[in-house]
Homo-oligomer: 301 residues x 2
């Protein structure tokens, strides 16, 4: 009998749950709105109980969640969402409740680290030990593997909140981050685009001046990540990146901003393989959660 794993992609607006034996073999999948923690987590538990009856027991469950959260297994608040602005979700022991209800090991990390792990195990970052996954959507977030392990450190990365140059003369928009104003997320997230231009990115024509400006800010962000972490690759995803024209625009600007300072053939000669879209498609988030479950099972085994 094949080993089964469970995954929960917990986003700010919706949750996706799945049971799978591998990335190519999803046995069951459901999605529902993220409401109160009690209702949302109960919804997930009910799904898994039903599906376990049908398909058999899962070896472990992975949760890739919105945050901020505590991903440190040594910490007393491990598995909890911590100080989120999302009403009711602060100090919720997400992993603990799932573990108790289903009696299986639970892996818990940020949605972006889960997605990064998914790309490493079966997507655009296979075989790499140090790479970044950056998502540009409702927010801007980043995760990744560094020296073969998920990036944690003190808490977890908050890559969207780095500060970058902002020329108020050419772009007087002040930014929308409630903490930092014109940080990367404040200037270049989906909601920032919508606020600056009066309509969401999906309604802006490909020739709109929004796109070169967006590519400019994203390239500044990626340049900073490259100088700080020296990733072997950057997987760049999220709703805003569905505008595929952005990829070549971002790549060109990363090259011109780096100005040939980092003399690696991977950047200088093959930038189109260096900054790439995710390979896991629309199920990337929940497959990342499955990857977290596989990892926690590997750790125990």
């Amino acid at each position: 009998m094949e080993t089964l794993f469970g995954g929960i992609e917990a986003g700010g607006t919706k949750c996706v749950c799945a049971i799978a034996s591998s990335f190519n073999n999803i046995r069951a999948l459901t999605q529902f709105p993220t409401t109160t923690p009690t209702d949302t987590i109960q919804h997930a538990i009910t799904f898994f109980k039903d599906q376990i009856k049908k398909h058999g027991q899962v070896k472990s469950i992975g949760i890739g969640s919105f945050g901020p959260l505590d991903p440190d297994p040594q910490s007393s608040t491990y598995g909890s969402i911590t100080s989120t602005p999302k009403p009711g979700w602060s100090n919720i022991d997400f992993a603990g409740v799932i573990r108790s209800a289903l009696n299986v090991p639970v892996g818990f990390d940020t949605d972006v680290n889960a997605a990064a792990l998914g790309e490493a195990r079966g997507g655009a970052a296979q075989g790499l030990t140090t790479f970044l996954y950056v998502t540009v959507g409702t927010g801007i977030g980043g995760g990744g593997l560094i020296n073969g392990k998920l990036l944690h450190g003190l808490v977890h990365a908050e890559m969207g909140h780095i500060r970058i140059p902002h020329d108020y003369e050419s772009d007087p928009f002040p930014g929308i981050c409630s903490f930092h104003g014109d940080c990367l997320e404040g200037l270049a997230s989906g909601p920032a685009m919508k606020m600056r231009w009066g309509q969401a990115g999906e309604f802006l024509p490909p020739t709109h001046q929004a796109w070169p400006l967006e590519a400019h800010y994203l390239a500044l962000g990626l340049m900073n990540f490259i100088c700080t972490l020296s990733p072997q690759r950057i997987v760049l995803g999220g709703g805003v990146m569905n505008h595929n024209q952005l990829y070549p625009m971002v790549r060109t600007r990363v090259l011109s901003q780096l100005n040939d300072y980092i003399r690696s053939p991977a950047i200088r000669e093959e930038i189109e393989k260096y900054i790439v879209p995710p390979a896991l498609g629309s199920e990337a988030g929940v497959l990342g959660a499955i990857a977290l479950a596989q990892e926690v099972a590997d750790t125990i085994a």
Copy 2:
């Protein structure tokens, strides 16, 4: 008999070589100017040959070098300085020449990664698995341990070259980086201070407006590193940081720029233990190289 290790701190202007059994027990130490690669490396070899006769064989030698360089043991150019602007030093197989001449294993990394390893093994970062060492002097550089290993990735970090906000109205100075103009190093390195104010930092009085501006830029840099890597601590050293008044000024500005976004007690409540000076003093560089030698010996053992 105690095990002995050799260390070479290769800076752009001087080299320091030492033999030591531990951080507290340096048996011999010398320093000489960095001139041509042939003369400089021969000088180091002669020192080690003489000292080995006197004190006994070393188990391994560590080299912490200026760069850019190739620190990847899997690479065909491992151990070489690559594309440095320093005349004559491009494509010099530094580690290979030392290894052949002295017939011992050689560890090779950036000066900042060596210093980081030194601080981890016997300095201000003992027991930490993910922290940064940032130096502010002739240039600005960063290294560190991530998930317990030195940070490498594609090449190595070039943290001084991140881009940060630069308000030309309050600071019209264009920056001095020949690649990026007003990157962090271009705005806040020692030579940038000297160029902006007409005299070097050591001649500027503590009340000079140079210091709050310097602290502002360094805080922007550290904020970006914190958001990108979530280090457990930042060890902040280099010649510019000999102006000790900078530490509290940088800490205050990091807190105000983060604006309570990252809710870790280590940052919110104990910032004076989070951003700290190096503990290894004036021999930090060569002790870092000794730490690299110890690490390469541990790897072989």
